[in-house]
């Protein structure tokens, strides 16, 4: 399939279920809300090494936030509900509770909830107080600055992790330019995040390794430097660099939409090829075919 100047490989992204939560952070200024959001979502690129994946979803206008201050919406994903609850407590506790002027709210509606503020309240050492408004309980934790406000329960929902597109280019500069354009286009989609730095991973991985202690290792088939060295290379001639964008989302529809926008942007921005990563269809129940994302693309 061709889309603009890019060859779109007839393959699919293999995604799998993850549990997700939306954390809304507000602050006296957009800058402080962003500081907390960056800290909360930092070191959360892959469950392989970080136990969770997180990212900034979008900036929130004061009119959209519970307390009418500037805010940032973030999404955090983990393989299971219990793990997600632990990560929420850890990250809100270490990154938002500590950050000047911020408050933290649940940003997702749903029947399943986990206790976050109800755990963090203990930092108040008995001086904490709660307030219930409109059926939601908030904890007021006294801190040296003044008071940290955090919602007690955060909704969690089954989402989708591991959506991805992979962009190949003639050299690092052109491939990165395509990846940057794809990431920018994907950020316009709600309910998704791109957990890697700047949304882009240069080190896509495969499952397993020749070293028994490693769960994952470099995706050697897509390393251009190994093209002449490995028998199963997927790097076409003339390709000098490859980048991957991983997408986690609250729904498979949102992940697919983000992939579609990213694919189109990458194809228009210098990618020579666009493909996607999968595990042969054996790992995840969600198979997002690239051909379904480019209905207008003509067959070669």
């Amino acid at each position: 399939m061709r889309l603009s100047d890019a060859e779109v490989v007839d393959t699919f992204a293999e995604a799998f279920p993850m549990w997700g939560a939306r954390i809304v952070i507000t602050g006296e200024s957009p800058a402080w809300a962003h500081e907390a959001a960056r800290s909360l979502t930092g070191f959360a690129t892959s469950v392989i090494g970080c136990k969770c994946e997180a990212g900034i979803e979008r900036e929130l206008d004061p009119a959209e936030t519970p307390d009418g201050r500037p805010g940032v919406s973030t999404l955090l994903f983990a393989p299971d509900r219990e793990g997600l609850a632990k990560r929420l407590v850890e990250r809100v506790g270490q990154s938002v509770l500590t950050c000047p002027t911020t408050a933290c709210f649940n940003g997702l509606e749903g029947p399943e909830t986990v206790d976050v503020g109800g755990q963090l309240r203990f930092f108040g050492d008995g001086y904490q107080a709660s307030k219930v408004l409109d059926g939601r309980r908030y904890w007021r934790v006294p801190v040296m600055e003044g008071e940290f406000l955090v919602e007690e329960r955060f909704a969690v929902a089954e989402g989708v992790g591991g959506g991805n597109i992979i962009m190949l280019g003639r050299d690092s500069a052109s491939a990165l330019r395509a990846a940057e354009a794809a990431a920018a286009a994907m950020r316009s989609v709600s309910d998704v995040i791109l957990p890697f730095p700047g949304g882009i991973a240069r080190s896509g991985s495969k499952v397993g390794s020749r070293y028994s202690g490693l769960m994952a290792s470099t995706n050697h088939a897509l390393c251009p430097t190994l093209r002449a060295q490995v028998p199963d290379t997927d790097v076409p001639p003339g390709v000098g660099s490859v980048f991957e964008i991983v997408i986690d989302g609250l729904t498979v529809e949102a992940v697919s939409e983000a992939m579609a926008r990213g694919l189109e942007a990458a194809a228009q921005s210098g990618a020579s090829h666009v493909t996607a990563g999968n595990y042969g269809g054996n790992l995840g129940p969600y198979h997002i075919a690239l051909k379904d994302l480019v209905p207008g693309a003509g067959e070669e």
């Binding site: 307390d67 009418g68 307030k131 408004l133 409109d134 908030y138 007021r140 003044g146 008071e147």
Partner: protein, 270 residues
């Protein structure tokens, strides 16, 4: 919608426990007219005092001079009850859900022992608004009361949970023996607010004369208060940006109890 219009004001108080939309929702007109009310110490029927029209659903409307009609909407759990005019004592007592809107004033003990729902009073409220039922330690345990006029003495006495907001002035001894919850006063506050309060919050938009058993903590912008005040503004209370975003002096008390309650006073020029 079912409408009950009071024909004549009763000579002595008329007790109408059970006149709430949830309880009448499945009743036919005849059944409603046959419901028992107490006129003083005499058993009577709804039809003796009210002209019943319309058909029952989730909304009930009461019309007439209802100042001597007590317990309107008491214990209601759902639906909407509209009172066109004033309502008597114990209006909305023990409410658990739904919305009770009174276009006029309400008598004493309105909303006592509330556990949920919303009571909205366009006029003023009498004494003991959202307080405790006689003989009970804890008062209101949930829900919201909004009063656009003034409120009498002992507002929120024994308040345990929930929100009481008064656009006008609070009488003396507001939040007497308060256990928790929140009272917001946009007008003035009478003498001895928060006497013997253990926990909870009184928010005052004007200077308040405090008991000597309250201690000043600091001046700050309480983050939770923005949520509350924005919520109240969305419900129609006249709150300004200065009140929502302003700095408040935090006074902790009552020192004769736990000293975990607070009176937040808006600082002028913030």
């Amino acid at each position: 919608m079912l409408t009950l219009a009071l024909r004549d004001q009763p000579t002595v108080p008329l007790e109408t426990e059970g006149l709430s939309p949830d309880r009448l929702a499945t009743c036919g007109r005849g059944e409603v007219e046959a419901l028992t009310v107490w006129h003083g110490n005499e058993r009577a029927q709804v039809g003796d005092f009210f002209a019943v029209s319309g058909s029952a659903d989730e909304e009930l409307r009461l019309e007439g001079d209802l100042r001597r009609v007590k317990f309107l909407g008491a214990g209601m759990t759902a639906g909407r009850l509209t009172v066109v005019g004033d309502a008597g004592m114990h209006t909305g007592a023990g409410m658990r859900g739904g919305e009770l809107a009174v276009a006029g004033a309400v008598g004493d003990f309105a909303g006592v022992g509330m556990r949920g729902g919303r009571l909205v009073v366009e006029g003023s409220a009498g004494n003991h608004l959202g307080g405790n039922q006689p003989g009970e330690r804890a008062g209101m345990r949930g829900g919201e009361i909004l009063v656009y006029g003034n409120a009498g003495e002992q507002v929120g006495a024994g308040l345990r949970r929930g929100l009481i907001a008064v656009a006008g002035r609070l009488g003396d001894a507001a939040a007497l023996r308060m256990l928790a919850g929140t009272i917001v006063a946009l007008g003035g506050v009478g003498a001895r607010p928060g006497a013997a309060m253990r926990r909870g919050t009184i928010v005052a938009m004007s200077q308040v004369t405090l008991l000597p058993t309250f201690g000043f903590a600091c001046s700050y912008r309480p983050p939770f208060l923005r949520l509350y005040l924005r919520h109240l503004r969305a419900l129609g209370l006249p709150l300004t940006d200065e009140q929502i975003e302003g700095r408040y002096a935090r006074w902790c008390g009552d020192g004769l109890e736990l000293r975990r309650g607070e009176i937040l006073m808006l600082e002028s020029g913030t």
